[in-house]
Every structure is written in C-alpha cells, then in structure tokens.
C-alpha cells in the first residue's frame, strides 16, 4: 500500500496504524536515542510519539516529506520540552514504569552511570570517540571502522586500547568503580 493510502487508512483502521508503526518505529527510536543518549529515555520518547500520533493523525498534512519526518518532529519537540522542564527542576522524575523489585534508586544509579559513560566518551579525543561508538555502539568490525576512518586495523586496535584505558580512568574519577 502506498504510504499516503496507509496514513488515510490508519486514521480509523488499527491494522493500518500497526503497519505505520512497523515502518517507522526503529527509525523513531534511533532518532530519540541520538537526542537523549539514554535507552530508558529513548523508550519513553518513542512511546509518547506514538501516543500523540494516534490522536493527531487526523490533523496530519502531507507536505511531500516522508511520514516518518512528522514523527521525528514530534520526538524532537518532546525532548526539547523535557529539557525545559528538567532545567526548572532539580529532582529527576522517577520512571513510572520501574519494576517494584528494584529500589527506585537502582534505576537512577544505572541511568546516571550510563549518563556518566556518555559524558566520558565525549571527553575522548574525536577519533577515539568515533572508534568507540562505531565498534561498540554500532557493533562494527575493526576492518569496517578502519575503512570508515581511513586508518589501518592496527591503528584502530591501538585507538580502542587507549580509548578504553582512558574511559576506565574517567569513570573512576566520576566515582564508578566498574561494577555499576
């Protein structure tokens, strides 16, 4: 089905809405993660995007862009609004969906550790950042990374070694002993 027809159908038909979801959700998530750098927040943003899309689909106008662009705009606005709210309040909101077996602090600690890791990654030299993100974030092979950044495989291994050593130091400085 052509996308425009699918969108029209999705205004009332749940099958069509589910198909729109299938066609777009992985990309919406990747975008949300690129904005938040945190899996729990990216999940929250993605959930909210589809909650809003459901009630606003009637007002969607085809302006010649792919439908997913509209969803990404909703995601961007959500992240921006959340950043505004956060800046006005010190205490972060607890995840409403955290498991009750976990002391609420556990989730926060993990999120904090993840946040600290992203801060640490950003403090690495640019080329080391790219190596770490490509190799671990995107699960690319040493060979792929070498091709992408235009260095030898040995150089990529060397950069990974240095990056990991430095990350470990940065995480320890930030108060994480490697068990979090």
């Amino acid at each position: 089905m052509h996308e425009a027809a699918l969108i029209t159908a999705a205004r009332t038909d749940s099958d069509a809405f589910a198909r729109l979801y299938d066609n777009t959700a992985p990309e919406v998530y990747r975008f949300a993660f690129s904005l938040t750098r945190d899996h729990a927040r990216a999940e929250d943003v993605t959930s909210e995007v589809y909650r809003r899309a459901l009630t606003r689909l009637d007002r969607y106008e085809d302006r010649g862009k792919p439908f997913v662009a509209w969803l990404l705009t909703i995601a961007r606005n959500l992240v921006r609004d959340e950043a505004r709210r956060r800046s006005g309040r010190e205490t972060p909101l607890l995840d409403h969906d955290c498991r009750v077996d976990e002391w609420p602090g556990d989730g926060l600690l993990r999120a904090e550790a993840a946040g600290a890791l992203h801060v640490a990654v950003r403090r690495l030299p640019e080329v080391q950042q790219r190596v770490v993100v490509l190799r671990f974030g995107h699960e690319r092979s040493v060979r792929d990374v070498a091709d992408e950044i235009g260095k030898s495989e040995a150089a990529v291994k060397q950069l990974t070694y240095r990056a990991v050593t430095r990350l470990r130091e940065l995480m320890q400085e930030a108060g994480y002993d490697g068990t979090t």
């Binding site: 749940s14 992985p26 998530y29 993660f33 589809y50 190799r135 699960e139």
Partner: protein, 268 residues
C-alpha cells in the same frame, strides 16, 4: 583471514556494558511491546473492538478483541455491559472473529503466543510480569502466589501479585486459576463463580484436586524425586508416588536432606 576483532584490554563485562549503552538500536522486545500497546490503544480510541462467544468446556466465555489482540475475557456475559463499560470505557458490539478464535483456542489449550494479549503493554510492569509468569504455569499444575511474585521479580510482593491476578483482564487465557495459596489451598478466584469455578477448571485441566487436598492436610508442600530433586506436586504430571518419592514440608527441609529445586517447576 579475519582476526577476531576484540580489544585486548576489555573485560567481558566492560565490553557488554559499552555495547548496551552505546548501541543506537531499540531493544526488539521493547518495539514489540510498544507495537501491541499502540495497536491496542488505537483500537480502543477508535472503538474497533468486537466480541464473540466461545463454548469453552468448563464454562462459556466471551472474548473481546481488535482483530489481532485480545482485550478482555469474561465468563459472565450476563453482566457484559457493566464489565466492558468499566474496563474498556464503552460496550463493543458482536463482531467477526476471523483468526482470533483460533488463537484463543490455542491459548486455552496451553499455547499462548506472547503477542496475543492487548493489555500486557498497558499494565504497570509488575502486573505484566505477574501475568507473564502465570502464563508459564503448565496445564494440570498449580503454583503458589509466592512463586508468581518471585518469578515476577519481587519475592516479597505476594499480596501485590494477588491483586494483579485479581485484575487479570484475560482470565482462562492467562491461567490465573492455576495460582493457589502456599499451603495448597485453592484460594480465591475473581471470575464469576469464584472458587467453585476455579476448582471446576482445574479438574477439567487434569489437576488431581483430591490428592492436592490430601497433601495439604498432611502439611506436604513439595515432593522429592530420584534422591536429588524436589518439585511442586504435579510437576511434569507426576502425582503417583514412586518408591523413592519423599515428601517435604518446606524448602529448608528439602535442602537439608540434599535435594535441589527442580529447574522446570522452580520451587525455590
């Protein structure tokens, strides 16, 4: 030749953590859950639900669905207006059942697919984990509330597990009737008919209710098999005592005699 591209100075734990935290892709389980949640929400918002009746042998049931996911099951069609109004916000009409009937029949026969139930994505996560743990109890067997709470991730939340089961939107499909008290008493049941219905379904499924009551009277909680493993009574269909069957009143007693918990029924 491709060398294994692992950096030499990473521990496996560190590597796993880096991968988990830097990976830009969504967790497939999350995407599947959100799909079912979004579809279910859409179906309710646009009132795309319909129902059909199924002549399930222990008692007839009415199933509300959106063409793919099951939203509500009740064995009390006489009060359908009240039940639907309260749980769905409106009263759906009878609708075509397409292939949903087949999925419901499979689920009742013990083959529940993970993406069958609409509600799991909308529930608080502990409730969802309780229903998922309950869905894993085999036909013809029972488990205590404490077991369900433990498998749902919070061994202390026995009462909360009971509450989650009392609000099970899809009884019979998620077999909350297979959850009993720790002393093997059948306990309460929220569907119409209460404990009488519960006992009738369990008998229909092949549970030896009389033998369960007899063990309960003797204070037996677990059975030891083969000199090394202890189980819930009925695990794997074994009700008949063998020569080497032992009975235990507690996990502590079983363990003190060198028995380890069965990996299938997970009594501890």
């Amino acid at each position: 030749m491709t060398a294994r591209p692992e950096p030499e100075n990473l521990t496996p734990e560190e590597e796993q953590r880096l991968r988990a935290q830097l990976r830009p892709e969504a967790d497939p389980a999350f995407l599947a859950r959100l799909r079912s949640q979004s579809r279910a929400r859409h179906a309710r918002h646009h009132r795309n639900l319909g129902w059909f009746d199924l002549n399930y042998e222990p008692n007839p049931i009415r199933v509300v669905h959106d063409g793919e996911l099951i939203h509500l099951v009740t064995n009390d069609p006489g009060h359908f207006r009240d039940i639907a109004g309260e749980q769905l916000g409106y009263v759906p009409e009878r609708g075509p059942d397409e292939d949903v009937r087949h999925r419901v029949e499979n689920a009742l026969a013990g083959e529940l697919r993970g993406d069958t139930i609409a509600y799991l994505g909308e529930l608080p996560s502990f409730h969802r984990h309780v229903l998922e743990a309950t869905a894993g109890i085999p036909r013809g067997e029972v488990r205590p509330y404490a077991w369900v709470a433990r498998l749902a991730g919070n061994a202390g939340a026995v009462r909360a597990a009971g509450t989650a089961l009392a609000h099970n939107p899809v009884p019979f499909i998620v077999p909350c009737h297979r959850v009993v008290k720790s002393d093997l008493e059948l306990g309460r049941y929220s569907a119409a008919g209460g404990t009488v219905t519960k006992e009738r379904i369990l008998r229909f499924e092949g549970l030896e209710v009389a033998r369960l009551a007899e063990m309960r009277a003797r204070g037996v909680r677990y059975l030891g098999h083969g000199g090394d493993t202890f189980c819930f009574p009925g695990c794997g269909g074994t009700w008949e005592p063998q020569d080497d069957t032992r009975t235990f009143r507690s996990v502590v007693e079983a363990r003190s005699l060198g028995y380890e918990p069965c990996s299938a029924c997970r009594p501890a």
